[in-house]
C-alpha cells in the first residue's frame, strides 16, 4: 500500500513514466488513429463553445465601451482576452471533458475486465501500448484545438459585432486582429501542447489506477478525469500566463 503522504506525488510520477514510455516507441498505427480520433471528436465541441464565447465577449465589451463612444473598439477586448486567455482555456476544458473522460473510462474498463492484465501476461507494457499513444494524441490535439478555438472565437466576435452590433465589417476585423500578434499565436500553441499533456496525463492516470470495481469504477474514473483535468487546465493556464505575460507588467 502507498502511504497517504505520497499520494500527491503519484500524478507527477505517472507523468514521468508515461513520458518515458513515449520514448520507447508506442505502436505507430494506433497512435496515428488515436491522434485523428481525438482531434475529430474534440474539434466540433471546441469550435461551437468558442464561437459563442467570442460572441458573448464582444457583446459584453460593446456594452462596456458604448457609453464612452468606443463601440468600434470592442474587438480589442476579444482579441486580447479571448485569444490570450479565454479561448485556450475553453479548448483545454473541452479537451478534458470530451477526450479526457473517454480515455479514462476506456482504460478503466480495460482494467476492470482484466484486458490490461492480459497485455501484461503477454509480456507487453500497457504504458507503451495504451498510455503513450493516448498521451501523444492529446499533446498533438491540444495545439490544434487551441488554434481552432482562437479562429472560432474571433469569427464569433466578428459575426455578432457585424450583424447584431452593426459595427462595420472591416473595422471589426481590423480591431480584432490588431490585438493579436504572432507571439500570441505561438504562446497559444505552446499552451495547447501543455494543456494537451495535462489532460492526457490526468485521463490516463485516472484510467490506470486501481479504483472501485465494475461500472461504478469506470464512471468514477471518467468523472475524476474531467474534474481534475479541468482544475489542472485552469492552473496551467494561469501559470503559463503569469510566466509569459506576467513579466511585461
Amino acid at each position: 500500500m502507498i502511504p497517504q503522504v505520497l499520494l500527491p506525488l503519484m500524478l507527477p510520477a505517472f507523468a514521468l513514466r508515461a513520458t518515458a514510455a513515449i520514448l520507447r516507441g508506442p505502436p505507430l498505427k494506433d497512435t496515428v488513429l488515436l491522434v485523428s480520433r481525438v482531434i475529430l471528436r474534440s474539434l466540433p465541441v471546441v469550435v461551437i463553445i468558442c464561437f459563442f464565447c467570442g460572441a458573448m465577449l464582444t457583446v459584453q465589451a460593446a456594452a462596456s465601451l458604448a457609453p464612452f463612444g468606443a463601440l468600434r473598439m470592442s474587438g480589442l477586448i476579444v482579441g486580447f482576452g479571448g485569444v490570450r486567455e479565454v479561448f485556450p482555456l475553453l479548448a483545454g476544458g473541452a479537451l478534458a471533458s470530451r477526450t479526457g473522460a473517454e480515455i479514462a473510462s476506456q482504460l478503466q474498463a480495460m482494467r476492470v475486465t482484466r484486458q490490461v492484465e492480459a497485455l501484461e501476461m503477454m509480456g507487453l507494457d500497457p504504458l507503451v501500448l495504451l498510455v503513450a499513444p493516448r498521451l501523444i494524441a492529446c499533446v498533438v490535439a491540444g495545439p490544434v484545438c487551441v488554434f481552432a478555438a482562437m479562429v472560432s472565437g474571433l469569427v464569433g466576435g466578428q459575426v455578432i459585432g457585424q450583424f447584431q452590433l452593426g459595427i462595420d465589417r472591416s473595422a471589426m476585423w481590423a480591431t480584432l486582429l490588431s490585438a493579436v500578434g504572432v507571439g500570441d499565436l505561438v504562446v497559444g500553441l505552446i499552451k495547447g501542447v501543455v494543456l494537451g499533456f495535462v489532460v492526457g496525463v490526468v485521463a490516463c492516470y485516472e484510467g490506470s489506477i486501481v479504483a472501485e470495481g465494475g461500472a461504478r469504477g469506470v464512471g468514477a474514473a471518467a468523472n475524476r478525469a474531467v474534474v481534475r483535468g479541468m482544475v489542472l487546465v485552469c492552473l496551467s493556464c494561469l501559470g503559463l500566463s503569469a510566466l509569459i505575460y506576467g513579466r511585461f507588467l
Partner: protein, 254 residues
C-alpha cells in the same frame, strides 16, 4: 539439450517458498510453500475467497508478496528486472476467469494479437498459426466474429487459443469452467485434457469445480484459509480421509 536447458527442464514449473500475501490485515495467502512440476496438469482447488487466484497472480508477478519467494520456470519472479519479467511472461499463457478478450477486436485478431505485437510475426505466418489455433480449440469458422457475439464456452475457447498463441511452456487457467453450463464445462474440460495430452505442456488450473478437477488433474492441491491443506497426485488427494478434504470433495458445508 544443453546442460543449462536440461537443468531448467528439471526445475519445477512454479515454486513458492513461504509466500504470504495480505490484503489489509487479512493474509489471503499465508506462508504457502508449493512446488508444481512440469509437463503435468496441476489443479489447485478450494472454496471461493481462499486465495487461489491470488496464488496465480503471485506466480506471474502481477501481485507482489509481503514475504517469501516465487520461482516460475526457473526465474526468481520478484528478483527479476522488469524486462526479464516481461520475457518470462512471454513463456506463459493465461486464461482469465472473465476471458479478458479485447472487445473491439475480432476472434481472429484477438488470437493474432500476441503474434503480431509480441513476436512481430509476418502476416502469412500469423494467418496460418491463428487458423491452426482456432482449429485446435474447435472454432475454425468463427474468426470474423466479435467476442460479444460468442457464447460463454466459445469465448473460453478463444481465450485458450490466444493463451496458446506464443507456444508457452506454462499455461495458467483461472476458473476455466466458472459460469458455464454442465455440458459446456465438460467440453472445456475435455479440451484442456486433450490439449495437454497432445502438447505435453504444463497446465496449472485454479478451480472450485471438483468434477472438472477429477477429469483434468494429474496433481491436485486443496487451498483452505490461505494455506495448502493437502497437495499430491490426484488419486492420493481424492482418497484422503482428512475430514476437511472429504467435506470439500463431497460438497458438504464445512
Amino acid at each position: 539439450m544443453t546442460v543449462a536447458n536440461e537443468q531448467s527442464a528439471q526445475t519445477p514449473a512454479i515454486e513458492l517458498r513461504a509466500v504470504t500475501k495480505r490484503f489489509g490485515p487479512r493474509a489471503v495467502v499465508d506462508d504457502v510453500t508449493l512446488s508444481i512440476q512440469r509437463g503435468r496438469t496441476t489443479v489447485i482447488l478450494g472454496p471461493s475467497g481462499t486465495g487461489k487466484s491470488t496464488l496465480l497472480r503471485l506466480a506471474t508477478g502481477l501481485l507482489e508478496p509481503e514475504a517469501g519467494s516465487v520461482h516460475t520456470l526457473g526465474v526468481d519472479v520478484f528478483g527479476a528486472k522488469k524486462h526479464e519479467l516481461l520475457r518470462l511472461r512471454r513463456r506463459m499463457g493465461m486464461l482469465f476467469q472473465d476471458n479478458a478478450l479485447f472487445g473491439s477486436l475480432s476472434v481472429f485478431d484477438n488470437v493474432a494479437f500476441p503474434l503480431r505485437r509480441v513476436q512481430r510475426t509476418a502476416e502469412p505466418e500469423v494467418r496460418r498459426r491463428v487458423d491452426e489455433l482456432l482449429q485446435l480449440v474447435g472454432l475454425p469458422e468463427l474468426g470474423d466474429r466479435l467476442p460479444d457475439r460468442l457464447s460463454g464456452g466459445q469465448r473460453k475457447r478463444v481465450a485458450l487459443a490466444r493463451a496458446m498463441a506464443l507456444s508457452p511452456e506454462l499455461v495458467l487457467f483461472d476458473e476455466p469452467t466458472s459460469g458455464l453450463d454442465p455440458q459446456t464445462s465438460a467440453s472445456i474440460d475435455q479440451l484442456i485434457k486433450d490439449t495437454q495430452t497432445r502438447l505435453g505442456l504444463t497446465f496449472v488450473v485454479i478451480t472450485h469445480d471438483i468434477e472438472s478437477a477429477g477429469i483434468i488433474a494429474d496433481d491436485a492441491g486443496l487451498l483452505l484459509d490461505g494455506k495448502v491443506h493437502l497437495f499430491g497426485p490426484r488419486a492420493t488427494v481424492w482418497a484422503s480421509q482428512d475430514p476437511r478434504v472429504r467435506a470439500f470433495l463431497e460438497r458438504r458445508a464445512g
